[in-house]
């Protein structure tokens, strides 16, 4: 099969690049091996949350500081104007699928975590943060954090205790409540099947939503805000949110849960359906196992399911993620990139890959390991030659720490956008 562009990796970065390419008329395929990191994410889009362990409020101002100290940072290769453009593109594409992202007019806002900490982020789904929340924030007196009886993955009392310590909530009473709904529990066969995704499906039934709304209203007497784990449906979330708020006359917002992440799932679904809607080819459950190149140009890739049939393209984007996603592989005392055997940035000594403690202020070095690229995000092979028609995006890139800097999805989106831009302009030149 022949394509203009083949994207290896179907996470947030691969999908963003795919949508961009296919929108510009490129015959584009995405090869995805399975669930992406979106399923384990907060579902908010972080652009730049921290510098030197301090919270960043104005991410675009702070960008200069960051790229000033780390010259090879992927953001430095993108540039501020492109990052802004990429984020707007991403937002608009999500909106076509009814996932509306709130941006706090170029400022970071905070989302509440399951442990009650506040994480700076740039875009949140409207059920996580919105103008109403923002406006009512100063006058609120009481917040109720609710869990559903039998759900093991959330402890509202821990979240409440942590949240009340924060200066923002100094004048606010925060309490934890549990809603017991036997009718919901009956729907489960075994208690260990009562996961976020099972509960989200329960919310998809309108009749259940009214019952849930009544239970929430009872639990939240006198409160301004009600916080629940992110359960408000996988597909009809806007509608469910509206029904819950209008029936309870309360502001209701969601906290990202332990995986699977319903908030991440919504974005994943939106991007996938947008890509399909535009005519992209999404090859799921398959894995690229080898590539064929000549003269620093990749000719074709072969997958595990179709080892005999090459997939050919003029351009390739590698967005296979980090170790966790299989983009890089570590062994007893070395690391490699399995698809193109690209040059990696890493420390050869194994005992330098990690920090002395789990929670260490400088995070862990291995998170910064990855593929080395030129200014245009083209990678080097093991002989230090640039591969001419391959671009890299997202977590496989070296020289940034998504957790310490709070920039995982921002880098994924910006580098995907940049990689796609390069390919699109070359593609247009070729025609």
């Amino acid at each position: 099969m022949k394509f203009d562009c083949i994207i290896i990796g179907g996470g947030i970065s691969g999908l963003t690049a795919g949508i961009r390419c296919v929108k510009e008329g490129l015959h584009t395929a995405i090869i995805s091996s399975g669930m992406s990191a979106l399923h384990f994410s907060s579902g908010s889009i972080d652009v730049l949350g921290y510098i030197n362990n301090k919270v960043v409020y104005k991410p675009f101002e702070a960008l200069d500081t960051l790229t000033g100290t780390i010259a090879q940072h992927p953001y430095a290769k993108c540039g501020k104007a492109l990052i802004v453009e990429a984020l707007q593109f991403f937002k608009q594409e999500c909106e076509t699928q009814n996932v509306y992202l709130f941006d706090n007019e170029n400022l970071n806002h905070f989302h509440v975590t399951a442990l009650g900490t506040l994480k700076p982020t740039y875009f949140s789904q409207r059920s996580v943060f919105n103008e109403d929340v923002y406006n009512r924030f100063k006058s609120m007196k009481k917040i109720v954090i609710v869990n559903f009886e039998g759900y093991r993955d959330f402890h509202p009392q821990l979240a409440a205790a942590q949240l009340s310590k924060h200066a923002l909530f100094a004048n606010c009473e925060i309490i934890a409540k549990s809603i017991d709904m036997p009718q919901l529990q009956d729907l489960t066969r075994h208690p260990h099947e009562y996961r976020s995704i099972d509960i989200a499906r329960i919310f998809e039934n309108e009749e259940n939503v009214y019952r849930i709304a009544d239970a929430i209203r009872l639990a939240a007497e006198g409160a301004d805000f009600v916080v629940i784990p992110a359960f408000m449906g996988i597909h009809n979330f806007n509608q469910i949110h509206n029904i819950l708020q209008s029936r309870t006359r309360l502001l209701i917002y969601e906290i990202p849960t332990l995986p699977p992440s319903i908030l991440g799932l919504r974005i994943d679904n939106a991007l996938k359906s947008r890509f399909a809607q535009l005519g992209g080819v999404y090859i799921a459950g398959d894995k690229v196992v080898r590539a064929e190149s000549s003269n620093d140009v990749v000719q074709a890739v072969y997958t595990a399911n179709h080892p005999e049939n090459p997939l050919e393209a003029k351009f390739y984007i590698l967005s296979t993620g980090s170790f966790f996603s299989g983009g890089m592989i570590s062994e007893f005392n070395n690391m490699y990139e399995p698809v193109f055997k690209l040059k990696l940035h890493y420390e050869p000594e194994r005992n330098k890959w990690y920090s002395p403690q789990f929670f260490y202020s400088n995070s862990h070095p291995f998170l910064e390991y990855g593929v080395v690229t030129d200014e245009n995000l083209r990678p080097y092979d093991s002989k230090n030659n640039i591969i001419q028609n391959v671009y890299c995006s997202g977590a496989i890139l070296a020289h940034y720490n998504p957790i310490r800097e709070g920039c995982g999805s921002g880098v994924a989106i910006s580098t995907a956008y940049k990689a796609a831009n390069q390919i699109i302009s070359l593609y247009k030149l070729m025609r």
């Binding site: 975590t113 442990l115 208690p191 009562y194 007893f332 990690y354 403690q357 929670f359 995982g408």
Partner: protein, 541 residues
Amino acid sequence: MRTIETEVIVIGGGATGCGVLRDCTLRGIKAVLIEKNDIASGTTGRNHGLLHSGARYAVKDLESATECINENRILKKIAWHCIEPTGGLFVTLPEDDPTYHNRLLESCKFAGIDAKEISVKKALATEPNLNPNILSAIWVPDGTIDPFRLASANILDSVERGATVLTHTEVERIMLKQNQVAGVQCYDKVAKEYFEVYAPIIVNASGVWGQHICQTAGIELKMFPSKGSMVIIDYRINNVVVNRCRVPSDGDIIVPGDTVSLIGTTSRKISYDKIDELVVDDDEIEVLLADGEKLIPNVSKARVLRAYCGVRPLVAVSGEMDGREISRGVVLIDHKERDNVQGLITIAGGKLMTYRLMAEMTTDLVAKKLGNTSRCLTHKIPLPGSEKRVGYTKKIKYFSGIPNSVVGSTHYRHGERVHNILSLQKRNYGLICECEMVTLGEVEYAIKNLKVKDLVDLRRRTRIGMGPCQGELCAYRAAGLFTEFGEFTPDTSTKLLKDFLEERFKGMKPVLWGDGLREFEFTYWIYQGLFGLGLVEEEEK
């Protein structure tokens, strides 16, 4: 200041200390056990969990071998719920001295160990993952034992019979009145308060830390700490214990344990001032994996879950000797005889396997000093959980409605006490740890009944967080239950969660490559990235 009065103070909550406490209690002697961390948190919890048949010692140390096989038989009766009688093999590799095989068989016969030669074909049928190039094999009645469960069952029984157990309590010093012990001064690390316990007899069962304890009474007792490191493979690659048939050396045993397998062990002399900050060295991992691979090929291709080490409490009774040379026999010291300090007894050396015998010897001496004439009963009375032996299938019928796997795991860990833990209420058997099938009910039971003061203690009682994911999801799930079922504030629960992750990380660090690194990246994403747990402390400052 708070004070407690009793007849006997036992210092150290390892297997031996717990055994002494139980033995005293069964003889009607009032006793208090003081442990600076948690039950089985020192050397007891840091071995490979082998239920020795004694064969390992038969060639060089007949006495130890005989002790082992006797205790092996006793423990199978009184503590069956802590034991898996897997059986074991001694296999000779092409590079090993082939004459050791016959020496081992002969020595086992002398020691009364039921060892028999089996054909290579039969050995491979018993253990299909075994190196097919072995030259010969001997079957021995080795097994596996869960040291946490064993120590905990001793404690549970003692407490139910009236003993007092103080964990996370440090003995600051032994108080003397002229040349007679008066008691100990302690510090409760959780409540952050000092108090004193008075008794005419003190048993120092604190293993390698016993040198320090003796020092507080002005007595010199020289310990020779020997470090042993082990690696854990993330699933059970063998059914039976696999020993290498040669003179004991590094990396010559692979022990199956619950859901995982362990490769043991190294032996390195370390200086006494390093016993609390032990680390596994990179080259030890290389040795263990390389030698493990010789017994079971492909071991090094499996995912390595953790590496950890413990300190053997070897005592120099006379003259200085090195790691594997120094006697591993039991050392019972009456300090009245040795140092003219009346009432102080040190019990050290020995092995996990002989903990009960060591406790019996110690308690005999305690009883003699107190004029108590009761006989030892610990070899006859089963531990809690092992009271009745009812088949697993019968249990599953009794708890119909609860998934068999859940009943099986709970029964496996707690024996007869499964009745105190599982109930047919749906919430009770909801799984908190899916790797090890730990239910909400089991967590509740442990927090309320088994002296659990943090998540690490909970792990020792239930195996929570010990499976392939190392606490990825269950650590958070369990943390909240401390607030729900115990007297823990939400802040404490959050702190326990953080401490637990740090504790787990210590054993992951030396083996962070391959899928171990992948799993760790995921865990780190969740707790630091998604939960912002690392931010908690900074905010509080």
